[in-house]
C-alpha cells in the first residue's frame, strides 16, 4: 500500500476560493510508495512545508484528496503512522535529551522501563548515547537535530516526514547526517518524505526527487534517481558523491528546477500518475 497518495491537492490561505487568498499549492499529485524515500525540492515559498503539513494533518487541504496508508491524514495521525522532524529541532528545553526522545512514548502510555529501553536504542542509532542526560541547550545544532530524528522514530513510524531537517547545518555535519539517515532508513524500512533546498542532498538521499514550481506550488517533474538501495548508498558514501552518475542526476534535477522556475514546460513535466522518469 502506498504511504502517501495526493490527488489534485490544493491549499489556498486566506479568503477561501479566490480573490485575495494566497495559493500555496495547486493541483498537486504525489505518490510515495511504502519504504520509498522521496525528496520535495523547489524554490522558497513554493509550498513544500505546506504539503508536508497537509500530509501530517497539521493543516487541511482546500481542494483535492489525500490519503496516508489508505486512511485520512487525521486517522493516520491518530494512529501515529508517521513521525515528523521539523526544520527547527523543536526539543523541549526543560527536558533531558533522553526525556525528549521518550516524549512520544510517554504521550501514549509506555511504561518507564519501555521508554528508557527504546530511548537507549534510538540514542545509540543516532550516536548520542553519551548525551542522554544532557539538556538540549548543551548540544550543538547537529546533535539537536539528531535527537529530533530519534524522537520522530520513537514509535516505529512507517512514514517519516522531514522538513529541511539539515537546513541549518554546515556541509560536513550535513553529509554525515545524510549518511546516518540512509543507514536509519535501511534499518527501519520506513518511507520518508524529505523536504530540502539542496539538489545534491536530494539526489544523494532519494529514490525519487519531486521538483516543484514557485507559487502556486505544483509538481513539474518527478525524477527517478536509481543510485542503489539506501544500504548500498550509505556504504558507498563519498565514492557515490563523486560518481559521474551522481553528477548526472544532479544536473537533471537542476535543469528541471530551473525550467520550473522559468515557467517553461520542463521536459520531465508529467501528467498526474504518469510522470516521465529520468535516469536509467
Amino acid at each position: 500500500m502506498s504511504a502517501v497518495v495526493a490527488t489534485g491537492v490544493g491549499r489556498v490561505f486566506g479568503p477561501a476560493g479566490g480573490a485575495g487568498g494566497t495559493v500555496a499549492l495547486s493541483d498537486v499529485d504525489l505518490t510515495v510508495a511504502a519504504g520509498e524515500l522521496v525528496s520535495l525540492i523547489g524554490p522558497s515559498g513554493c509550498g513544500k512545508s505546506t504539503l508536508l503539513r497537509l500530509v501530517a494533518d497539521l493543516d487541511t487541504p482546500t481542494s483535492g484528496s489525500l490519503t496516508v496508508f489508505g486512511k485520512t491524514p487525521a486517522r493516520a495521525r491518530a494512529d501515529q503512522d508517521y513521525g515528523i522532524a521539523f526544520q527547527q529541532a523543536g526539543l523541549l528545553p526543560w527536558r533531558s535529551v533522553q526525556a525528549n526522545v521518550e516524549l512520544p512514548l510517554q504521550l501514549h502510555g509506555a511504561s518507564r522501563a519501555e521508554r528508557a529501553a527504546r530511548a537507549a536504542e534510538l540514542l545509540a542509532l543516532v550516536g548520542l548515547t553519551d548525551f542522554a542526560g544532557h539538556r538540549p541547550d548543551q548540544l550543538s545544532g547537529g546533535m539537536q537535530q539528531r535527537v529530533a530524528i530519534a524522537r520522530a522514530l520513537a514509535r516505529w513510524p512507517r512514514l517519516l516526514l522531514m522538513d529541511e531537517p539539515f537546513g541549518a547545518l554546515d556541509e560536513m555535519t550535513r553529509e554525515r547526517l545524510q549518511d546516518e539517515l540512509l543507514k536509519i532508513r535501511a534499518e527501519t524500512g520506513a518511507a520518508v518524505v524529505f523536504v530540502t533546498h539542496s539538489i545534491p542532498e536530494a539526489v544523494y538521499l532519494s529514490d525519487r526527487v519531486v521538483v516543484m514550481t514557485p507559487r502556486p506550488g505544483r509538481v513539474v517533474a518527478d525524477l527517478e534517481i536509481a543510485l542503489g538501495s539506501p544500504a548500498e548508498r550509505a556504504a558507498r558514501g563519498i565514492a557515490l558523491r563523486e560518481d559521474p552518475a551522481f553528477f548526472e542526476r544532479v544536473s537533471t534535477v537542476r535543469e528541471a528546477l530551473h525550467a520550473g522556475e522559468a515557467g517553461l514546460p520542463a521536459r520531465d513535466r508529467g501528467a498526474a500518475g504518469a510522470p516521465d522518469r529520468a535516469g536509467r
Binding site: A56, L58, R77, Q80, F86, G90, L103, L107
Partner: protein, 259 residues
C-alpha cells in the same frame, strides 16, 4: 576564567564597592560635620542596630509576616486567575481593564480604605495591600507564559496526537514556569514594600514602617536608619528566596535554558 575566580569576583566586586561607599559616607558625615537628622554616620547606625537588634528584628519579622502572607495569597490568586484567563479568552478580556487599573495605581494609596474596611487593630489591611500588589506582576507574567507556546512545540504535540491536557502538562506549564518566576521575583520586592508602606497609613503599632515613623518622631535618627537596614535585609531575603526557588532542580532549570 576559572569558576572559583569568577565566583570570587562576583562576590568581591560588589563587596569592595559597598565597603568603599560606607567609608566615603562615614568620612563625608564626620568631615563636614553633617547633623544626624540630615544623615547619620554609618558607625552611629551600626551602634544603634547592635544595641536594638532584638527590636529591629521583631519589627522586621512583623512586616515580613504580612509581606509573606500577602505574597502567598496574591500568588495563589494570580495563578488561579491566569489559569482561567489562559483557558477562557473572555475572562482575560474582562479582567484586562481591572488589571491595567491595578497596575498603574500604587496600591498602597488604598491602605486607608482597607483599614476602615478590615479594622485598624488587625493586620488584614496590610496583607490585602501586599496581596493586590503581588497579584499584578504574577498574573501578567504567568498569563503571558501560558500563552507563549512555540509553534513548533504546538505542531509536535498535535503530530503526536497529544490530548489537550497532555499538551498543557508537558509543554504549556513547563514553558510558562520561567515567566511565572520572573513575576514572582518582582512580586517579592513589591510585597515587602507594600506591606511596609501600608503601615504608614495606620493599623497596629508593630512592623518596620511604624518603627521608622516613631523613631523619627522621637528624633532618634540613627535608630530610624537601623530600621531601614532591617527593611533592606528583609527585602533581600524575600528576593533571594524567590530567586533560589527558581534554581531548584525541578523548577524547570535555568532561565537561560529557554529560547
Amino acid at each position: 576564567m576559572s569558576r572559583v575566580r569568577e565566583g570570587a569576583l562576583a562576590v568581591g566586586a560588589p563587596a569592595v564597592v559597598g565597603v568603599a561607599a560606607v567609608v566615603l559616607w562615614q568620612a563625608t558625615v564626620t568631615g563636614l560635620g553633617i547633623a544626624a537628622y540630615v544623615v547619620p554616620a554609618p558607625a552611629d547606625i551600626a551602634t544603634e542596630l547592635a544595641a536594638n537588634l532584638q527590636v529591629v528584628a521583631t519589627a522586621a519579622f512583623g512586616t515580613a509576616r504580612n509581606a509573606a502572607l500577602g505574597l502567598l495569597v496574591g500568588t495563589v490568586a494570580a495563578l488561579v486567575a491566569a489559569g482561567v484567563s489562559a483557558a477562557w479568552r473572555l475572562a482575560a478580556d474582562a479582567a484586562n481593564p481591572l488589571v491595567t487599573a491595578t497596575a498603574v495605581v500604587p496600591i498602597v494609596c488604598l491602605a486607608p480604605v482597607f483599614y476602615t474596611m478590615f479594622g485598624t487593630d488587625a493586620q488584614t489591611a496590610r496583607v490585602v495591600v501586599a496581596a493586590i500588589a503581588v497579584f499584578v506582576p504574577v498574573y501578567v507574567n504567568t498569563l503571558r507564559g501560558l500563552r507563549t507556546v512555540a509553534p513548533v512545540h504546538r505542531d509536535l504535540l498535535r503530530a503526536h496526537a497529544a490530548t489537550p491536557w497532555q499538551a498543557t502538562r508537558h509543554v504549556t506549564l513547563p514553558g510558562a514556569l520561567p515567566f511565572f518566576f520572573t513575576g514572582l521575583r518582582v512580586a517579592s520586592s513589591l510585597a515587602v514594600i507594600s506591606a511596609l508602606v501600608a503601615e504608614y497609613f495606620g493599623g497596629p503599632v508593630d512592623g518596620l514602617g511604624k518603627a521608622i515613623t516613631s523613631a523619627v518622631a522621637s528624633s532618634r535618627y540613627a535608630l530610624a536608619w537601623a530600621y531601614v537596614v532591617g527593611a533592606v535585609v528583609t527585602g533581600l531575603v524575600f528576593y533571594a528566596v524567590t530567586t533560589l526557588l527558581e534554581r531548584l532542580p525541578d523548577a524547570g532549570g535555568s532561565p537561560s535554558a529557554r529560547r
